[in-house]
């Protein structure tokens, strides 16, 4: 039975009347790897800062191990942070950066059986102990031999690892990581993801990890918290989040999704484009309008006359593992991933298994995501970005 370690209860955060976090309710279990995932500005860092003690929620409570810690300052929390921009001490070398937390004298309390504090004394670690733990940590993050180096002379990935070592060396109960891999290239990122996961397992520390990279979140976490606009959109395991997104925002943010308007005709039957499809969802009212999510990899391409829907391929992009093709069905464009090439202009049919269809309740996000009509234009827009609007006007003029 997992033990609850941290709880945010009705936490709201406002800066000058601008609500940045809106009534967040969240609990985090001991030894859990929990990820806060969301687009830029959705309040991930703010949530982390509330847990770290750098910000007090405007309203609501923060509990640690059942104790309310709203007004406990950061240096008295059993939490350490890996900051978004590392925040290494430039005047100290690698060794001293990592040793910083160990050199702080700790207050040791002696309590009687009733939990009443009998005495307090300051304890300092011996140099030998500090040395041993720093060296141990350097081993863990693969930076042996770097101890005398200035942190400013390190590469981004190395600084990153110093920041992680500096936080971990204190053996905190909880480690907060704010987009720690943001500055790394893809290869190093993947390595560090595995490394962090390994460290978390080995040291049995609760990780609260912030990222806006959905792949990273799915790959590393026990629990993913999807946020947008200061609100939690969904909490669940990576599988839950991917397979059972709660609304169009989550479906769109996690992986690629075709999101269509549908009507629930009865349990297990949904109507899209006036055709009925079998699905596994139930519990909706009869004839309730819903959002239907179909993942690009869940669509089977079949000869046109065998398909449940028939459409025309309008765009093909080679992606290495597969082709991303855009198919026009009655004016609505879908993204489909396939390993067989269907050339642009060809007519195809598709089939969808019942477990490839996921039904969601309508939400504020309905109709905002999941339409790939602008897919090809998106690419053109990017390559045309350097053109001045004035030039377009001229072309128009020529055509007339």
């Amino acid at each position: 039975m997992p033990k609850e370690l941290i709880r945010l209860s009705n936490c709201t955060m406002a800066f000058d009347d601008e609500v940045v976090l809106d009534n967040i309710n969240l609990y985090i279990n001991d030894k859990e790897f929990l990820t806060l995932l969301g687009p830029s500005g959705c309040g991930k860092t703010t949530t982390l800062r509330i847990i770290g003690g750098f910000q007090m929620p405007t309203s609501g409570d923060v509990f640690f191990d059942g104790v309310r810690i709203n007004s406990v300052p950061p240096h008295k929390r059993a939490v350490n942070t890996v900051f978004q921009k590392y925040a290494l001490f430039p005047h100290l070398n690698v060794y001293e950066n990592i040793a910083f937390g160990l050199r702080v004298p700790r207050v040791e309390e002696q309590k009687n059986e009733m939990g009443k504090v009998l005495s307090r004394r300051k304890v300092k670690l011996s140099e030998k102990e500090i040395d041993q733990r720093v060296m141990e940590m350097l081993e863990v993050v693969n930076l042996r031999g770097f101890e005398k180096r200035r942190v400013t002379s390190l590469s981004g990935g190395q600084q990153q690892r110093v920041a992680i070592a500096r936080a971990l060396v204190n053996k905190p109960k909880v480690l907060l990581l704010d987009e720690p891999l943001g500055a790394l290239d893809l290869k190093l990122r993947k390595d560090m993801q595995n490394e962090l996961k390994r460290i978390q397992k080995a040291m049995e520390i609760t990780f609260i990890y912030v990222t806006h990279d959905q792949e990273e979140a799915l790959a590393m976490s026990d629990t993913v918290v999807v946020m947008d606009g200061g609100k939690i959109q969904q909490i669940g395991t990576p599988e839950d989040i991917y397979n059972e997104p709660k609304n169009a925002f989550v479906a769109d943010f996690i992986g690629e999704s075709n999101i269509l308007d549908g009507i629930m005709r009865s349990d297990g039957v949904v109507e899209i484009f006036n055709r009925q499809f079998a699905c596994l969802d139930s519990g909706f009212e009869k004839d309730e309008p819903v959002d239907v999510v179909i993942r690009p990899e869940d669509v089977d391409i079949v000869p046109e006359n065998e398909g449940q829907l028939k459409g025309t391929v309008t765009n093909v992009t080679f992606k290495g593992m597969q082709y991303d093709i855009i198919v026009d069905f009655y004016g609505f464009k879908w993204l489909i991933q396939t390993t067989d090439l269907s050339p642009v202009g060809s007519r195809i049919g598709i089939k969808i298994d019942p477990d490839g269809i996921h039904i969601m309740k309508k939400s504020q996000y309905s109709g905002m995501f999941g339409d790939y009509s602008s897919y090809s234009e998106e690419y053109e827009e990017i390559s045309d970005a350097a053109y001045e609007p004035g030039e377009d006007g001229q072309e128009d003029g020529d055509e007339k």
Binding site: G52, F54, P73, P74, H75, V79, N80, T81, F83, Q84, K85, A87, L88, F89, P90, H91, F100, G101, V104, R106, R150, T152, R166, A167, N170
Partner: protein, 318 residues
């Protein structure tokens, strides 16, 4: 790669050559030239400087005291200022800079009239009864010292064969405090005039400190005092060093301040040099030698200090 000076820098090169390099060369030449009617190369000018050792010592002592006081006032001021809101900071900065927009001599004259025997401060002290209080305290101290002299000290002197005596002639009939024409007034003048040069560099370093560094230190368990000692202060050292330089150098070579606030009886280096060039002691050869020695001492001091603070300096630049 050739390091060619562009034509655009020509005016500055000419300017520097004319007004910085040439005068220094002249000073060096003069310093090693014998005083007419004698001729040729000589070290006499430097040998004569022994006579002025006391002036050197006094100048460096007063400049050091002034620098130290500036640091004592300037650091906390910069530190707390940097924590205030931006509009408060702007106003405070203007107030700190404001006196600098006025002529240096005017500012010092103002201090003269404030410190005078029947100047503003003394009249205020008299009105508040502080001068009478001073007389009273002096009287009390006198009688305390007298009884100590007769008691403990007399006993000690008899035992140890010494002749220790505490002074008992503190003035008890003062009508004013003597403030003008004291070394204290000279130090005050230096502090007042050069304090902004201490505040500005320290402030600009502290204001640029990355707040996430302070948060990181707190996060790692450091109390506020420890954050200051281990992070803020070391990272602000470059500002302190340039502040110290910018106060110490003009303080050690100042001349008007000592003349106006110190009464001109206890010479400082600046006065001494001025005297050799413009005053009755006209001897530009000796004056050049003194200037040269002073410049060398200052440059060496600064070099040593900057070597000492180099590590931190780099840290902040990066």
């Amino acid at each position: 790669m050739r390091n060619k000076l562009s034509w655009f820098s020509a005016p500055y090169v000419v300017w520097m050559a004319l007004f910085t390099v040439a005068p220094v060369i002249l000073v060096v030449i003069y310093a090693f030239t014998a005083v007419p009617p004698a001729e040729g190369f000589t070290l006499d000018n430097f040998l004569r400087m022994k006579e002025f050792a006391v002036v050197f010592a006094r100048s460096f002592r007063l400049a050091l005291i002034a620098t130290f006081i500036c640091l004592l006032i300037g650091y906390p001021l910069s530190y707390f200022l940097a924590k205030e809101g931006p509009s408060f900071q702007k106003i405070a900065m203007v107030l700190i800079m404001l006196p600098m927009w006025m002529n240096f001599l005017l500012r010092t004259y103002a201090w003269m009239s404030i410190l005078e025997n029947n100047g503003f401060l003394n009249r205020m002290f008299a009105a508040l009864g502080i001068i009478d209080l001073g007389n009273l305290i002096n009287g009390g101290l006198n009688s305390l010292c007298a009884s100590l002299n007769e008691g403990v000290l007399a006993w000690l002197n008899a035992r140890l064969g010494t002749a220790l005596l505490l002074s008992t002639d503190r003035a008890t009939d003062m009508t004013y405090f003597r403030m003008l024409y004291t070394q204290g007034a000279v130090v005050l003048g230096m502090v007042y005039n050069y304090l902004p040069f201490m505040i500005l560099p320290i402030y600009s370093v502290i204001i640029k400190l990355d707040n996430s560094l302070l948060e990181a230190a707190r996060d790692l368990g450091a109390s506020s005092a420890r954050v200051f000692r281990k992070v803020i202060f070391p990272l602000s050292l470059p500002g302190v060093l340039s502040g110290v330089t910018m106060v110490f150098v003009p303080s050690v070579s100042t001349f008007a301040i000592s003349k106006m606030l110190g009464g001109g009886t206890k010479l400082l280096l600046g006065d001494l040099i001025e005297l050799q060039f413009l005053g009755g002691a006209y001897n530009p050869y000796l004056g050049s030698a003194i200037s040269l020695v002073m410049m060398v001492i200052v440059v060496v001091c600064m070099y040593v200090m900057n070597r000492f603070g180099e590590g931190e300096e780099q840290a902040v630049v990066l």
